[in-house]
């Protein structure tokens, strides 16, 4: 299975289209068989988590290795599927801009720490990269939400 040859630019409609296709494909492989009335809350919860993971994975795979946040998401998924214990070596990506380690205009701001917890893979990057990653992450989240809304609307009509 070769990766898509279509350029994954940050063109928002291209992003949405590719995400939509990967997401719908992932959903098809999820087990959604009806088990009577869904009284089992635990089961409903687990299904919902699976859809959520499929959604984040689909978006991260569209972005691929271009971004630190998408690499972090994909890496987390891989680790999870390998059942953590088997993975012995964690591949650490070297900081591509080591000179910018002293760049920290928001040094005293607790907000930056909060942001680092929200954006995947953002814990160790310098502030400059953090801003760029956050901007890209937001763009992708927005696209993700729009596509999911469309799908929910389509399924809701019936």
């Amino acid at each position: 299975m070769s990766p898509s040859q279509q350029p994954t630019s940050t063109n928002p409609s291209s992003l949405k289209n590719q995400f939509a296709h990967r997401f719908i494909r992932a959903l098809k492989t999820l087990n959604h068989t009806k088990t009577g009335a869904a009284h089992d809350h635990n089961q409903m919860y687990r299904r919902s988590i699976r859809v959520k993971i499929a959604s984040y994975t689909a978006m991260a795979s569209v972005v691929g290795s271009r971004r630190a946040w998408s690499r972090a998401v994909l890496w987390k998924i891989i680790k999870r599927s390998r059942n953590q214990g088997l993975l012995l070596r964690k591949r650490k990506r070297r900081n591509p801009n080591p000179k910018r380690e002293d760049f920290n205009p928001f040094r005293n701001s607790g907000q930056e720490l909060k942001l680092r917890k929200l954006v995947p893979g953002a814990e160790t990057m310098d502030s400059w990269c953090l801003m760029g990653e956050t901007a890209d992450y937001i763009k992708c989240l927005v696209a993700q939400v729009e596509v999911m809304k469309t799908l929910v609307d389509l399924y809701s009509i019936t």
Binding site: I24, L118, M131
Partner: protein
């Protein structure tokens, strides 16, 4: 730390570059987007960014929940489901001959 090492581009981040980056981020935030008159402070932008990312995460959670419920009510093999899927894939067209399978 001196900036004597050259290597990968700018040796010093200018204030203008910082302001520019914060302004770009500000443009993405629905709360602050329309504030053209006065650029919001960096900490305000950061704060709004955190709030916005959290709200987007929450939206994904809610939509996943709704979607999983809806999917469990429709048989995947039914014609109804394939109509929905076709409608969906047509709303988000990709160039067919480059499609990955």
């Amino acid at each position: 730390m001196s900036s004597r090492r050259s290597g990968s581009g700018a040796s010093r981040i200018t204030d203008d570059q910082i302001i520019d980056l914060v302004a770009k981020l500000q443009q993405l935030l629905p709360e602050l987007r329309n504030r053209r008159s006065n650029k919001a402070s960096a900490s305000k932008v950061l704060q709004e960014t955190c709030n916005y990312v959290r709200s987007l995460h929450k939206e994904v959670d809610d939509l996943s929940d709704r979607l999983s419920r809806l999917l469990s009510t429709i048989d995947d093999d039914s014609p109804q489901a394939s109509i929905i899927r076709n409608e969906f894939t047509q709303t988000f067209p990709i160039i067919e001959f480059l499609r990955v399978y």
